[in-house]
Amino acid sequence: MNCDDMLKMINRYVDGEIDPSMCANLERHLAECNPCRVVVDTLRKTVQFYKGDQMTELPIQFKKKLDDALRQKWDQTMGKG
């Protein structure tokens, strides 16, 4: 196991898709290779931060525009039913 092997499996490792025996190999490498440990850690954070970056509100001006457009369409299609 070297750094290139580690890199090839980094996604599956971060996603927890590596089988336990191979996983032990990777972890042995990580224990003694600081650069790989840092890359794994920061890659994991990269995914986490983006996943956690969710929006709870629309930009205010767009919200108004959207509401108006939907209301108008609603009145045309549903309102008369």
């Binding site: 650069p35 931060f49 983006y50 959207l66 457009a69 939907l70 549903m78």
Partner: protein, 216 residues
């Protein structure tokens, strides 16, 4: 609220909307629009495009509401419409389409260049508006074919299979692009968030040494 309770609530809103209750429809829009806006913004890279996508999505939902089966999940339905509208916009805007496989699509991976832990203070910044903007900007800089795969797979949590089917790619294309996307984003974020004194190049590659200078 539990998921099941939320689903029940949503089914009730859909039924009311189909019956002509605008407020019920509006409540469904309010529940899903922010997420769909974020999705569309990330896929298209443009605020104006994101607005178009969200508006198109709910207008379409409104038009087809009568045919919508109440037992299906409203969120899943509008999500699929939004993904397709966003991808359609990308297709229209460019001659080259993200779903085209090929062009140097081999298994080679970018070697990590910047290797440094991130400042611990980053963890406290994640809720801030500036941090959201930083993430957005870094994502915008990623080329389209990698960005779209990352958004659908990692942010929207679509499966590899679903992502491949949506983009017309093979599953192995999706996996390679996802790997590259993550590595490229990690690289860029490390340049911005890495702890200065410890920033060092991996594997004796000092191409990025200039980035180490002038750091706080």
């Amino acid at each position: 609220m539990t998921d099941r309770a939320a689903e029940f609530d949503e089914a009730r809103l859909v039924a009311a909307a189909k019956g002509g209750d605008y407020n019920a429809f509006h409540a469904l829009v309010e529940a899903h629009a922010p997420h769909l806006y974020a999705l569309a913004r990330r896929v298209t890279g443009q605020d104006a495009d994101a607005e178009d996508v969200v508006q198109t999505t709910f207008l379409k939902a409104l038009e087809n509401l009568a045919n919508f089966r109440e037992e299906a999940a409203f969120g899943t339905w509008v999500h699929a419409i939004a993904v397709n509208s966003a991808l359609k916009l990308l297709r229209q805007r460019k001659r080259t389409w993200v779903g085209q496989p090929g062009d140097g699509e081999d298994d080679s991976l970018p070697q990590p260049q910047l290797v440094a832990d991130w400042r611990p203070s980053v963890e406290q910044q994640v809720e801030q508006r500036e941090f959201h903007e930083l993430l957005q900007q870094v994502l915008d800089e990623l080329d389209e074919k990698h960005r779209v795969v990352f958004v659908l797979r990692d942010i929207e949590q679509m499966s590899v299979k679903e992502t491949a089917a949506t983009l017309g790619l093979t599953e192995s294309n999706v996996k390679v692009r996802l790997m590259r996307a993550r590595l490229m984003l990690r690289e860029r974020l490390t340049a911005l968030l890495g702890e200065g004194p410890n920033l060092k190049a991996h594997m004796d590659d000092h191409d990025h040494a200039h980035l180490l200078e002038g750091r706080p």
